[in-house]
C-alpha cells in the first residue's frame, strides 16, 4: 500500500500546550512513585525488623539463636533450634503427604478425567483454599486429632524401634497432625500450579507418545512429567513456603511445647506459632527474640519463594514464550489467595 500522506503535511503536528501535558506527566510520576514506594516499604520493614531483632541476636549471637536447643523465656534463654526444627519437621511432613496427592490430582484433572467432570473437580480442590487457617485449626483439634489418636498410637507402638517415629504416648496436638493439616492446606496451590504447568505440554508430544504405542500411563510418564518437572518442583516449593509461614492452624495443632519434641506424635513448637502464642505477654529481650523468630521466618520464606517463583516462571517461559509477565491462570490466582495464617 502506498504511504498515505497527511493532508496539509507541512503543518506542524498538533502540539499540546505544556499545561495540557501536565496531567499526563503527573499521572506518570505519581504511578512510578507508587511502584517505587512498594519497594521502599519492603526494604524499610526489613530494616526495622532487623533493628528490633538485634538485642536478641546480640544476647545469643546469630548462630546461638539459630542452633541453641533451649527456649526458656523465663530464664532469658532464647535458642530457637526447637522452633526451627518444628517448622522444618511439620512443613516437610506437609510436603511428603501433600505433594504426591496434589500432583496426582493435577494429572487426573488434565489427563485422565472425563472432560465433563474437570471443572467440577478443579473447583472442589480450590474450595480447600477458601477455608481460613483458623477453621482448619478448629477442625483439626476437635475432629481430626481425636479421631486419629488411636491410629497414631497403633503406629507409634508398632514402629517403636525407629527413633523419633515410634514409641511414647501420642498426644492430641502433635507434629504429625500439624503436618497432615498443613498438607491439606497446601494441596490447592500445589495442585493448581501443577495443573497449570501440565496444561502447557504440547498435544504433539502426547500424541507422539500414544502413536508410538505407549499406554496412557506411559504417555504421562515419558511425555508429561519430564516436560513439567521444573514447574511442579516450583509449585511444591511454593507449597513449602506456605507451610513454613502458616501460623494459626499450627499454633492450635502443634501443642506449643517450648522444647524439641522427642517423637513425631508428641508436642512441639514452630517459629510462626511462637510469635502468635507468646507475643502478647512478651517484654524486652523476649519480644526482641520473637522479632528475631519472625525475621528468620521472613528470610526462610523469601528464599523458598524466590527459588520457587524462579522455577515456575522458567518453566512457563520455556514452554509458552508469553510476554513480559508469565501470566498465571485464574485458577492459580484463586489458590494463591489461600489463607496463609
Amino acid at each position: 500500500m502506498e504511504a498515505a500522506s497527511i493532508p496539509g503535511g507541512d503543518r506542524a503536528l498538533p502540539a499540546r500546550s505544556p499545561l495540557a501535558r501536565l496531567p499526563d506527566k503527573l499521572l506518570r510520576y505519581a504511578l512510578t512513585l507508587l511502584a517505587g514506594l512498594i519497594l521502599a516499604l519492603i526494604v524499610f520493614f526489613f530494616v526495622r525488623l532487623v533493628g528490633e531483632a538485634r538485642p536478641a541476636f546480640a544476647k545469643a549471637g546469630v548462630l546461638g539463636f539459630a542452633f541453641d536447643n533451649n527456649w526458656t523465656p523465663s530464664a532469658e534463654r532464647f535458642g530457637a533450634l526447637p522452633l526451627v526444627l518444628g517448622t522444618l519437621i511439620t512443613s516437610s511432613l506437609a510436603l511428603i503427604i501433600g505433594v504426591p496427592i496434589a500432583i496426582a490430582t493435577a494429572i487426573y484433572a488434565t489427563e485422565l478425567c472425563p472432560i465433563r467432570l474437570r471443572t467440577g473437580l478443579t473447583v472442589l480442590v480450590e474450595l480447600l483454599a477458601a477455608v481460613p487457617s483458623v477453621v482448619y485449626g478448629l477442625w483439626g483439634i476437635f475432629f481430626l486429632a481425636p479421631k486419629l489418636q488411636g491410629t497414631e498410637q497403633w503406629f507409634a507402638d508398632r514402629l517403636s524401634f525407629i527413633p523419633f517415629i515410634g514409641g511414647g504416648l501420642v498426644t492430641i496436638p502433635n507434629y504429625f497432625i500439624t503436618g497432615l493439616v498443613l498438607a491439606i492446606m497446601i494441596l490447592p496451590i500445589v495442585s493448581a500450579i501443577s495443573r497449570e504447568v501440565m496444561s502447557t505440554v504440547p498435544a504433539d508430544h502426547k500424541e507422539a507418545a500414544l502413536g508410538l504405542g505407549a499406554t496412557r500411563w506411559e504417555m504421562i510418564r515419558i511425555a508429561v512429567v519430564p516436560y513439567c518437572r521444573a514447574g511442579i518442583v516450583g509449585g511444591a516449593m511454593l507449597g513449602l513456603g506456605r507451610a513454613i509461614g502458616e501460623t494459626i492452624a499450627v499454633t492450635i495443632l502443634i501443642g506449643d511445647a517450648p522444647k524439641l519434641g522427642s517423637q513425631l506424635f508428641g508436642q512441639g513448637y514452630s517459629l510462626a506459632a511462637v510469635v502468635a502464642n507468646e507475643f502478647g505477654e512478651a517484654q524486652g529481650v523476649h519480644r526482641s527474640a520473637l522479632f528475631a523468630a519472625g525475621l528468620v521466618l521472613f528470610v526462610l520464606t523469601l528464599l523458598v519463594n524466590g527459588v520457587a517463583r524462579g522455577l515456575v516462571v522458567r518453566s512457563a517461559r520455556s514452554t509458552r514464550q508469553s510476554g513480559p509477565t508469565p501470566g498465571m491462570g485464574a485458577s492459580v490466582l484463586v489458590a494463591d489467595t489461600a489463607a496463609g495464617a
Binding site: I38, A130, A214, G241, A330
Partner: protein, 298 residues
C-alpha cells in the same frame, strides 16, 4: 486434550503386553484414588462445619456481643455481633487502601513500566510479598505503628496489616487483566488525539474493570479469613465498635480465642463463628467466579 488412548481389546490387538496393561491400570487406579483422597478432607470439613455450626446459630447468636462470661450456659456467653461487624469494618478499610494502590501499581506496570528493569524488580518484590507469612505483616505494622508511635492496638492498624496482605493479590490479578485489554483500543484512542491519562481512565480502566473485580474480591476473601496479622495490631475486644482507632474484635480472632476455651458452649460458639466466616468467604468467592464469567476479558 490429546487423542484418546487405545484401551482394552484394542491395546491387546496392538500387542501391548499384559504386564504393561496391568501397570497402566494400576497407575491410573492410584491416581484416581489419590484424587479421591484429596477430596475427603473437604467433605469432612464441610460436614463438621454444618453439623456443629448450624447448631450454634440462633437469632441471638448474631445480635449479641460476647459477654466473656464462660461459666454458665450458652445463653449467657453471647454471640458474635461485634466479631462480624469488626471483620466487615476492618476488611472494608483494608480494601479501600489496597484496591486503589494495587490498581495504580498494576496500571504503572502495564502502561509505563512494561519490561524495564525497574518493572521487573517491582514484579519480583510483589511476588515476594505474596509469599510473606501473614504474621510477619502483623509484626511489620506492630513495629512501625505500635512500637514506633508508642500507641496501642487499633482497628485501622489491623486494616493496614490486611491491606499489605491484599496488595500483591490485587496487583497481580489487575495486571493480568490489564494486559488483556486489546492494544488496538489504546492505539485508536491515542490516534484520535486523547492524552495518555484520558486513555487510561476512560478506555483501559472501564474495559478492564469487570475482570479486575474478580481479583479484588479474592483478595477481600483472603483478608477476611486472616487471624495472625490482627492478633497484635487490632487485638480484640468484646463490645461492638464503630471506632476504627480503638480495639476491634474480628471473626478469626474470636474463633482463635474460643478454640482454647475449656467450656463446650464457647467452643460451640467458635464452630458457629467458623461457619459464618466460611459462608462469607465462599459468598465472595462465588461472586468473584460469577463476575469473571460475565467479564468480556479472561
Amino acid at each position: 486434550m490429546s487423542a484418546q488412548a487405545p484401551t482394552g481389546d484394542l491395546m491387546a490387538r496392538f500387542g501391548v503386553s499384559a504386564a504393561r496393561r496391568r501397570k497402566d491400570r494400576v497407575a491410573r487406579g492410584t491416581i484416581l484414588a489419590a484424587t479421591i483422597v484429596a477430596l475427603i478432607p473437604l467433605v469432612l470439613i464441610v460436614y463438621y462445619l454444618l453439623s456443629k455450626g448450624l447448631g450454634a446459630w440462633s437469632s441471638s447468636f448474631f445480635t449479641t456481643d460476647p459477654t466473656g462470661n464462660t461459666f454458665f450456659k450458652s445463653e449467657s456467653i453471647g454471640g458474635i455481633k461485634s466479631a462480624i461487624l469488626g471483620t466487615v469494618e476492618m476488611v472494608a478499610l483494608a480494601s479501600a487502601i489496597s484496591v486503589p494502590v494495587g490498581v495504580g501499581v498494576a496500571i504503572w506496570l502495564v502502561e509505563y513500566g512494561k519490561s524495564s528493569w525497574f518493572a521487573h524488580t517491582v514484579r519480583f518484590f510483589v511476588d515476594v510479598l505474596t509469599g510473606v507469612p501473614s504474621i510477619v505483616f502483623g509484626l511489620f505494622i506492630y513495629i512501625v505503628l505500635i512500637v514506633g508511635t508508642g500507641s496501642s492496638f487499633a482497628g485501622y492498624k489491623g486494616s493496614l496489616a490486611l491491606s499489605l496482605l491484599m496488595l500483591p493479590v490485587v496487583i497481580r490479578s489487575a495486571e493480568v487483566i490489564l494486559l488483556l485489554v486489546p492494544s488496538g483500543l489504546r492505539e485508536s484512542a491515542l490516534a484520535l488525539g486523547a492524552p495518555r491519562w484520558k486513555v487510561i481512565f476512560s478506555i483501559v480502566l472501564p474495559t478492564a474493570l469487570p475482570g479486575m473485580v474478580t481479583g479484588m474480591l479474592l483478595a477481600v476473601a483472603r483478608a477476611a479469613g486472616e487471624t495472625a496479622p490482627l492478633l497484635f495490631t487490632a487485638a480484640s475486644t468484646k463490645a461492638t465498635s464503630f471506632n476504627l482507632s480503638g480495639f476491634m474484635n474480628s471473626l478469626p480472632v474470636q474463633i482463635y480465642g474460643d478454640v482454647t476455651s475449656p467450656t463446650t458452649a464457647v467452643v460451640n460458639r467458635a464452630w458457629g463463628a467458623a461457619l459464618t466466616l466460611v459462608v462469607m468467604i465462599l459468598a465472595l468467592n462465588l461472586l468473584a467466579r460469577l463476575i469473571s464469567r460475565r467479564s468480556r476479558l479472561a
